[in-house]
């Protein structure tokens, strides 16, 4: 069924990650992403990996859910890795030199690091933002963080309201699509076979009712909001006020220290670890 599609799914819970202020999660999320891009050596990646595992454990979200989140990008990762391996020209002697294929050590290293970066990026940001933060509190946090921009005339509140509404209606529209699909299937419509042109044409009986109902819904929602005196230009109070707690301060500190640690580790010379083969491997700079 189409409703099995997960779109940035939120898993309700009571872990430390769930309780953090959404603004904290947005900022530490950015710090984490910066850390991923400042990591230059295998040792730094090891640290990133351990930190991510620790976050998963703290969030109490099962590893199978995390793996399911990575699955959609696997083919893209394989494709770009192959491109990286084939297209990167190194300075040393190629490892493989066959016909038009030249594979250099640099290409392989680059592919491995890119893959790790993307995976960490997906796991880290979905852990902090989508899995443990409800869409509503996420937009609240975003609005609060961007609110200084409204001083220079950017309608931050309008954007956040639009985002909230869009997020709110994704499940509704998915359900609606399912319903219309079933109704048209009951009239002998076929969405799954035939040529591309035929299939595209088969979507018309699905898309027309979907758009009609989306417009109708939008109109009804607008009327309902106006009936409750909603005005864009008026300042609104919040039902849930965002407040920072000690745990938010603590998280900022942890992430800032972690970021500094990654930068330091990436610059650490192999000699500091004894200078042996493993030390040199761990401190190999990309």
């Amino acid at each position: 069924m189409i409703s099995d599609i997960t779109l940035g799914q939120f898993f309700p819970g009571f872990s430390l990650l769930h309780k953090l202020d959404p603004r904290t999660k947005l900022i530490t999320g950015i710090l984490f992403i910066v850390a991923i891009f400042l990591a230059k050596t295998p040792l730094a990646f090891l640290a990133l990996f351990l930190f991510t595992v620790a976050m998963i454990l703290v969030s109490r979200i099962s590893f199978s859910v995390i793996l399911r989140g990575i699955r959609p990008v696997i083919y893209i990762l394989i494709f770009t890795s192959i491109l990286n391996i084939l297209m990167t020209k190194g300075t040393s002697v190629p490892l493989v030199d066959f016909w038009i294929i030249e594979i250099y050590r640099e290409g392989i290293v680059r592919a491995v690091f890119m893959t790790m970066r993307v995976i960490l990026l997906i796991v880290g940001s979905s852990l902090l933002l989508t899995y443990t933060t409800s869409p509503i509190s996420l937009t609240d946090g975003l609005e609060s963080l961007l609110s200084p921009l409204s001083k220079i005339g950017i309608p931050v509140h309008v954007f956040s309201m639009m985002m909230t509404i869009a997020l709110r209606f994704i499940p509704t529209l998915v359900e609606e699509t399912d319903k219309i699909m079933n109704a048209q299937k009951s009239r002998g419509a076929d969405f799954t076979s035939g040529s591309i042109v035929r299939r595209a044409k088969a979507l018309i009986p699905l898309l027309v009712p979907l758009f009609v109902s989306a417009f109708k819904r939008a109109e009804e929602l607008a009327v309902a909001m106006e009936c409750r005196c909603y005005r864009v230009d008026k300042k609104r109070t919040k039902l849930v006020k965002l407040t920072f707690h000690a745990r938010d301060l603590l998280s900022f500190l942890v992430f800032a220290l972690f970021l500094a640690g990654i930068v330091l580790i990436s610059r650490m010379p192999a000699s500091m670890l004894g200078g042996g083969f493993i030390a040199r491997l761990l401190c190999y700079r990309i």
Binding site: K179, S186, A189, D190
Partner: protein, 297 residues
């Protein structure tokens, strides 16, 4: 729990459910049992009502009848054959069991009313003449004036849209017609027009009809047999008279029993031995009058 109007080999079930259970979101934390141990038969050429409280499993059952859902356990038999025998042919089953969903007007999409009603026959790959014939037959049911047939379906009134949507399923020419709350949200006149139209069409074409509704009044007026669902199980089944004589039990499972049926039940509780059809105003009136005469005699 078969319909008691059937006697052994004499019985002709157009559609039959055997040992059906249905689980939503199987193998996930959101797993939910919607139907269990359903054994039912729908008699050929009859109108069978399906009634039950919200969440009793009516709509799930309806989606099983034309193969939109596959039962977790059990079989659905159409003319004695398992509809899931060959899962690749399930689209064919859907053309033999016409399903009209709740609020079906959202399925309208085509440029004209005529083209929209012709969607199903066109999908069947019929010749243009045959499509035209089926459309005009279904149009007769809608009672929509010819002048509107070449207009957009979105210009019609609510009741007209509903009738066009139902006609769109009728035009498929299925032997079984399943209607999920076809009169929901319409005024009393709109309800009557739709249900009268469905009954006339079904009788004329010898269709087997399954009519889902909340309203016991509708059931009493339009159905031959009734099935009552409660919490994913069959609570009762039989003829309208048999099932609706148990007003107390139906009220207990949260059904909206007609006011007269409640009065009749209350009177019986007070010791008045009313008998006969106790769910229509006419029936209760007759019963009370009969009792009065007997009392005087």
């Amino acid at each position: 729990m078969h319909s008691p109007r059937c006697w052994g080999v004499m019985c002709v079930y157009k559609l039959e459910l055997k040992g059906i259970s249905y689980l939503y979101s199987k193998n996930t934390p959101f797993e939910k049992l919607a139907l269990s141990e359903i054994n039912l038969g729908f008699e050929e050429g009859k109108i069978t009502g399906l009634i039950g409280h919200t969440g009793s499993g009516k709509s799930t059952l309806v989606n099983l009848l034309n193969g939109l859902y596959r039962p977790t356990e059990g079989t659905v038999l159409l003319d004695g054959k398992d509809i899931w025998e060959n899962p690749k042919q399930i689209a064919k089953i859907r053309t033999q069991v016409g399903l009209v969903m709740q609020y079906p007007e959202y399925q309208l999409f085509d440029e004209t009313v005529r083209a929209d009603i012709g969607f199903a026959p066109r999908n069947l790959g019929l010749s243009p003449e045959e499509v035209e014939r089926r459309v005009s037959e279904a149009v007769a049911f809608t009672g929509i004036p010819d002048a509107l047939l070449d207009r957009s379906p979105f210009e019609l009134s609510g009741g007209q849209k509903r009738r066009v949507a139902i006609a769109g399923v009728m035009a498929m020419g299925a032997g079984v017609l399943v209607l999920d709350e076809p009169a929901a949200g319409l005024d009393p006149r709109g309800r009557r027009e739709i249900l009268d139209g469905v009954r006339a069409y079904a009788r004329k074409n010898g269709l087997t009809v399954i009519l889902v509704s909340h309203s016991m009044e509708d059931m009493a007026l339009y159905c031959d047999n009734v099935i009552v669902m409660n919490r994913g199980r069959v609570y009762a089944s039989g003829t309208v008279d048999e099932v609706f004589s148990d007003a107390d039990g139906l009220m207990e499972i949260g059904l909206n029993v007609p006011m007269v049926a409640r009065i009749a039940a209350a009177l019986r509780k007070k010791g008045f031995p009313l008998e006969g059809t106790l769910y229509t105003v006419e029936g209760v009136k007759d019963a009370i009058l009969r009792l009065g005469k007997e009392g005087r005699a």
